[in-house]
Amino acid sequence: MNALLLSAILGVVIMFSGILLKSKAAVRNLAIGGIALLLLANILEMCGTVFFRIDTKGMMAFDNFSLLFNSIAFVSTLLYLLLSARDMEKVGVNYAEYFALIFFILCGITLTSSFRSLLILFLGIEIISIPLYILTGSDKRNLKSNEASLKYFLLGSFSTGLMLMGIALIYGAIGSFNTSVIGAFTGTKPSALLIAGMLLLLFSMAFKASVAPFHFWTPDVYDGAPTVFTSFMATIVKAAVFIAFIRLFDESFGFQQKQWQLFIAILTVATLFIGNITAVFQQSVKRMLAYSSIAQAGFMMLSLYAMNTDAKEGLLLYTVAYSFATIGIFAVLIKMKDYTFDGFNGFAKQQPLLAATTTIFLLSLAGIPLTAGFLSKFYMLKAAMATGKNLWLVIFAVLMAAVSIYYYFRVIQAMYFKEGDNQPIEVTPAFKWILVVLAAAVILLGIFPNLLLSWYYF
């Protein structure tokens, strides 16, 4: 509750700070301070200090799972702002608004991570989506950015419509928006209305999480949006959607797991296959990362398929591992002038520290041991294995992980083993240090995942 209200207030404050504060640095520092404050408030709530006690009539529940994920999202955003805030200002003149929109998205994330009512879920998803449409099109003079924004808006609002339709159908079948009431339905045979509603919800959530075959918007939007916002979209927002996804299916439709499990398995296979295979053929690192985000979504789908304690723990770890690594790579990518693989040629010679940290992030995404990426994939596989059936799914997933080596390592090969002289890039020492911290966190979580997961049981 702390974070929800605070993020909304801070959003408004920062929006007006653009008028009151004249220097860019002041707005930036205000935003970074704001996110730190948000994180602090959320951690205080985890420890039991709640500032605002508002009766939500059971529409929201701030449990360990949601609070921990909120903290993860805030830490990721803090690191993201520390690394890339200066680059956000370069996108356009309305820099204060970009920060404000980020805060509104965080407000939406707190809603989607803690909803107990389908209406709150809908609100949360909308509050996340609308600022994203704006951020995607924020590079006003760039046609690609405009195209991406329009595409995203049209398809996104269509899927939101589907979601609303699904919610309405479920209300018709059950007579309640409350997830636990829906989940308590143990009738012998679910009505067609309920099944149709569930499928519509599944489709719309799959769209938001860019799960195949609802992924077609992803590469274009991620590629067209200003890189600094792609980073935010592909990491924190995607993680939040998955948290909402697993929460929805766990609480509302857990009892019908048998009926949708195979369906989810097929979506998982399709996502893994399309994401990985298409990423292999990309020439631009940015577009490769867009497909890689689809591939990673495929792995996260395994948690949805398994839906047990391991899966929930694992998904939390996965969101951290994936967000940290991807934010780090994007932060470096933003500084590059040439987004192709060749643009990275000889990068290790020019920027040894940046190359080393980027390598760690790439290894983590590829799932090499000693990085958080390995353990998070490991948890997913373990959860899927614990269901005791469909072993082929696990084997398929690891084979696809092997395919992912191909495109992640292409960047490493370019940086270390190929000669090239790209234009020098400028980074501040602070930027380097934050990247080192991020890389250290990735490795630390890869050795001691309980540093994070013990919070789940605090």
Partner: protein, 492 residues
Amino acid sequence: MVPVLLILIPLMAGLATFFFKNEKAVRSWALFSAIITLVISVLGLTLLKEEKYLQHSCEWIQTIGSRFSVKLDGMGQLLCLLNAVAYPLVILATWNSPYKKSNNFFALMLLAQAGIMGVFLATDALLFYFFWELALIPMYFLCSQWGGERRIAVTFKFFIYTFIGSLLMLVGLLYIYSKTADHSFSIESFYSVVLSNKEQSFVFWLIFVAFAIKMPIFPLHTWQPDTYEQAPTATTMILSGVMVKMGVFGLLRWLFPVLPFASFQWGDFITSAALIGVIYASLIAIQQNDLKRLVAYSSIAHIGLMCAAAFSQNESGLQGLILQMFNHGINIIGLWIVVELIERQFGTRKISELGGLAQKAPALAILLVIVALANIALPLTNAFPGEFLMFNGIFSSLTKYYLWFTLMAGMGIILGAVYTLNMIRRVFYGNTNELTVATQDIKWNEKLALGIIVIIIFWLGVYPQCMLNEITGVTEPLLKKFEILRYTAVPK
């Protein structure tokens, strides 16, 4: 205590090496670290033989039942020693080989040593998997950065090959884990898992593929000659001398005891593949003109024989195997050192361009001949007792094809003698040509490295008992697993 130090010293020394500037200092530091590791490894074999020194276990990821537990026991002991012996030899022998950014080179080499040590020491399946991969990552960078012309593509093939194998192994390990009674990755829990025959077969292949790729076994060997050829020779020494033993070791520690039935059932099939590989690799080795590729194929042949001995699954075969793993490591490093010396001096590895080296470099010639004779397991050299026991094992194994297997293995030995002696004749004897007329003999450090190898060769050739003492009883628990099978299960 000892096992932790064996992992920690190379790890820490390796990380520190990244920050060194002076090339001489880098090499001295790496040699120093390698010698300390060797001393500790020898201490573990001699003075500190009590249980409390030889194992360590502490909490790691409690929630999923994985512990950081390492143990220096019979099976891993000799391989740890091999790993510890190999490094000082390699560093000494390549003392004069130039490496760009030598600090990174030696740092990665030491990190690989830590990873390999971990593989031989881990008694927790997840930890084992961790180290298995960790040994691979430094190798990837070493081969891609410092290798020959085609290094990037070749190393990538090697990496993807082994990575697919390890991922399938991970699925196999996870499957066994999901069947353990106490949901634990510890080796004891794995050993007490009971799987149905059908499950065993399935999981066996998931895990075996990883080991088969690593060893490598025909027809999964295609990455190996290219990688050995393109990698910098110091790295090749470690790859072929120490790292391939990880695969054989994996069989003995993680596959046979956990899945005895499937190991028994598929034994004939795999032995056939391995022995076809022996003959195939030997025939190719005879045709080779490139020294590095010749030694690479010879390595495939030797490993194939080891794999066949492993699947003989009796005491003689397994003891011979453990002995031979150590000896083969020493011998092949000796061969690589000679190859490296020749390549550095003449800038070529083509056998047809060389000749008459013995006239100009007698010391090198004598040392090489001894190493080469050990490579073909002449009596009085270290490889003889090992190969003899392995042959005995294959001959007395339970399979009905034992005679064929022994014959094929024997063929491999004969062909091995053909290509080794042929290589010596063409490179070292005959007349000198313009290239080799100015040959210089080897320097003190190279003499020292090869000299140590020759001493080990003769010592273990004449008195193998000191090694056999270490490994008596090691194979017993393993054989017990098979013993039960013989009386209970009908292999069909």
